[in-house]
Symmetry: none
DNA sequence: CCCATGCTGTCATCTTATTGTCATCAATTC
DNA sequence: GAATTGATGACAATAAGATGACAGCATGGG
């Protein structure tokens, strides 16, 4: 999964650093801002996936910023976690009413904060499972993560599954190894092009028992193609 | 008909007792909580059919709790009756907007309260409290909170029970740990994803004596799947 | 009220499936 | 038949899941 970008809006350097450290540690990308203005700037440039917002900010307060964020069509769907100093009920209510999706009271435990961040992100990014795709007698269902050929189960590793899924949704077209790397492994992966060969072979091997290995075709000098012929 | 479970969320012991007495008297099951946290706990364990919610609560207020309840897929259909101290219209509106289905102002007459509760339950009755579900030789009955395999009782803890129930009602589909956390633990719980593994193991261990542990399948890289194969 | 018991969530550790890379072999191309 | 280009089998590193242990709580009896 592509790591999410998290914007920290916090004026106190010490806390900002603490947050940044923990969040980076957890494998997320971190953006920082000390006030509402720089927050907006960051948002325009980077469009974070989640915002950690300090309740008290110099100038425009966190609550106001949250309201602004909610009012803007571009940002109204970004989940906001409010950081409040006191655990006062009034604050909590206001925080939630102001558009924050969750709040954490300082001092907070890194564990809890990270858990809340993850929960928020997970809820907010409903993965589209995708429809069952078919090619000839081959069927692949992302929802159940199963592949069958003429009703017989086909065993695939994760990478081969993704590879076949891509092929079945992009039939008849030739893809170079580089293109396949981008599509299946993602653009940031640093993997040898030859590795594609190996996975192609593994996919073929998995399709061999049901005599469908010939669907994965080599186009010499160009790459590979999936075809129902 | 199975008597309904009613959760009372009220911090004042005197009122809580009064409510509990009346409601028990009327033949319902009573659950109690003094604040939002213990309310959530009760809900996770017992899933009430109706919630009586005090407007003013220490910590997270009743309004906020109501909103949270509405936001969670598991609880969003549970009818909520809000208890407000003052009869102010503003409060009432807010209470209703916050997701409450009805409100009663304190001091209230037990007669009136019970009438409203019954009306609410009656209106909301068509909600299937959970039919007995079966998968192969496995049977799970939410009503009796029992699980049997080929007639042999299967011992499960509360979490494993909910997990199995979810699986049995969502057969064949793969769920990521994150999705299972949302579905079984609720969206507000902050729990490690690895914890899912442990409960999966416990569920398998419980199903092992009846040789049905293989129904809970691991889909490497994706999550888990329940399947009758 | 206190203790026994059971349930939970978390860790640290162990196991195993999957991955990426090579070296080598086979085929095509010119 | 030399030079490319792809196929394959082996292998070590890695990542992901399974498992056992454990401490904190909650629950329910006594």
């Amino acid at each position: 999964m592509m790591s999410a970008k998290i914007l920290i809006v916090e004026d106190e350097p010490a806390i900002q650093e603490l947050l940044a450290f923990n969040i980076t540690q957890a494998g997320f990308q971190v953006l920082c801002a000390e006030d509402a203005d720089s927050a907006w700037q960051q948002i325009r440039n980077q469009m974070p996936d989640l915002i950690l917002l300090d309740w008290m900010l110099p100038g425009i307060s966190g609550v106001v910023l949250a309201k602004q964020l909610r009012a803007d069509a571009h940002t109204k769907d970004i989940p906001i976690i409010m950081l409040t100093a006191r655990g006062e009920e009034r604050d909590k209510v206001l925080g939630l009413e102001s558009g924050a999706d969750d709040y954490v009271t300082k001092p907070f435990s890194p564990r809890e904060l990270m858990a809340r961040i993850r929960a928020m992100l997970r809820r907010h990014a409903p993965q589209a499972p995708g429809e069952t795709v078919a090619a000839g007698a081959l069927e692949l269902s992302p929802a159940t993560h199963r592949v069958t050929a003429k009703g017989i189960a086909v065993e695939l590793g994760p990478t081969e599954f993704r590879l076949l899924h891509f092929f079945m949704t992009h039939v008849e077209r030739v893809y170079s190894r580089a293109q396949l790397l981008d599509q299946i492994w993602g653009t940031q992966a640093f993997v040898e092009e030859r590795t594609v060969d190996v996975h192609i072979r593994r996919l073929r091997a998995a399709l061999e028992p049901v005599k469908m290995d010939n669907l994965v075709q080599t186009v010499r000098g160009s790459g590979y193609r999936f075809s129902i012929n």
